[in-house]
Assembly symmetry: C2
Homo-oligomer: 296 residues x 2
């Protein structure tokens, strides 16, 4: 399949990295972000700057903004993309939103002859930069096939998990597990420090034992170093944990571990760490126990 | 170091597998269990049957029983091993007990001139059978060195994490993480089923994403199959989660995720699954949500 014209709205950390992959793959990318500086950086890397979302609209439009409210603005706000999208166009919504929102949006786009791929991604900035993201896709198989060549530029895997709404559901499940594993890593290391055991030895033992997780392995070095520089922020996880709890409430489904995780992240935000990296949840435990994991 | 005479008390599933490794390594093993059938099976595999714990006592004595109460009986009960242990003997306590109990026991053994390695293991039955356990050891380095040749027969790693009490602490931390990851796997798969998403696709996506854990990878196949045959039981994890909560309470340390995990395992036991495999915690979520993960 030859490179195509692609629209891209949302050139934040993740979006910029994904758009850079599309450019490197030879696609012509028309990009917009409400922050002018982000558009300038994008243009410096070879992208075509768009004046607004309507100007970025192409037959394949990627949206990678923070939340559903921003998605609404991109599509239906002032100079929104929906007025410029042609019948037959496809929107790849890569943001993490509520499944109910994705389904509602799918219905509204359908009325305009536009199809939706509910396709949030997993892999973070490292995956976006390396082009090894996983797209967790919900949507019609034929529609998904149209988006695949563009997805392939930034993703190692495209997994179809059902119709519109299913992609968001599975992404939220993955986020809940990720956040819970981060909180558990903090709970484990701070308990060790409180009990007088060197947290570095806990990391050494657990990493090769039954209690390990991808997050334990990737986040514990930062916690041992006391370095809470953001990759993903506490705020982003709180947003997704909130959506997951809304989903659980709608379905009358009990999620005690997700609820406990939400409380830990909420406490971290209330203590002033909303815009710190997710490992800052460690501070909740350190402050409660009067210990410091990085200097036991 | 040449093979030695070893005492071994507790020939249950884990103990029998560990004792078999010692026999295969050429050690002479004097074994006892309160269940006569376990001693008979041990003798059939080449072990020397002991009449009681006192009769099994050697200069290195391995104890692999269920809990601290059984450890007390082995050492200080009727025909207990302590009366037969010579000054200079070493006890390798491989059971998972409270750190405070391990420390107290260490003090009492010390008065008899006997040294203690607080050395619970990680790796389960598969690790014991293959000889790839991790010993999470607390104790004096010189004492630990005496036990190493015997440990090497059933463990790939011996990690010293501090003095007596530290081994139990780190083992409990590993158990809390393991149990929480099992509960989270159940929470994730049952939510998928409740939301109308195929749990098999969730396993496929999460296994290669940020939300994965060792337990997600090893336990999700059994959950998808609805097979809750015990490897470790709900009861065993409940015992260890209870000890962990006691440790947290003693240290005035908050463990919200461990507490939520304890509630899920408690509900599983109350629903009649105490002696089922740990994956039976899935039933708590399935029953609450009215779904079956194995037949979505």
């Amino acid at each position: 399949m030859p490179p195509t014209d692609v629209g891209f709205v949302g050139l934040g950390t993740m979006g910029a990295a994904m758009a850079a992959r599309l450019l490197a793959a030879g696609h012509t990318v028309h990009g917009f972000d409400v922050r002018a500086a982000a558009v300038t950086r994008f243009a410096e890397r070879g992208g075509r700057p768009a004046r607004d979302a309507a100007d970025a609209a192409r037959d394949l439009l990627v949206i990678m903004v923070h939340d559903a409210e921003q998605v609404e603005n991109v599509l239906c706000g002032h100079a929104g993309a929906l007025e410029s999208l042609r019948p037959g166009a496809t929107v790849w919504l890569a943001s993490t939103v509520a499944p109910s929102y994705a389904r509602d949006l799918g219905t509204r786009l359908d009325e305009a002859g536009v199809t939706l791929v509910d396709g949030p991604v997993s892999g973070g900035l490292a995956g976006a930069t390396a082009g090894t993201l996983t797209v967790i896709a919900g949507g019609d198989p034929a529609v998904l096939d149209r988006a695949r060549p563009v997805m392939a530029a930034c993703a190692a895997r495209v997994c179809r998990v059902g119709g519109v709404g299913a992609g968001s559901t599975v992404k939220l499940i993955n986020q809940v597990l990720t956040a819970a594993h981060i909180a558990l890593t903090a709970e484990a290391l701070a308990l060790a420090a409180r009990a007088g055991v060197d947290p570095r030895l806990v990391v050494d033992v657990v990493s090769s034992s039954a209690g390990t997780s991808r997050q334990f392995e990737t986040r514990s070095p930062a916690m041992l170093a006391g370095d809470h520089t953001p990759t993903a922020t506490v705020r982003t996880f709180l947003k997704d944990l909130g959506i997951a709890q809304d989903v659980a409430a709608e379905l009358d489904f009990p999620m005690p571990l997700a609820a406990a995780t939400n409380r830990v992240f909420t406490m971290a935000a209330e203590a002033g760490h909303a815009d710190d990296g997710d490992t800052a949840v460690l501070r909740v435990y350190e402050d409660a126990a009067g210990v410091t994991v990085s200097a036991p």
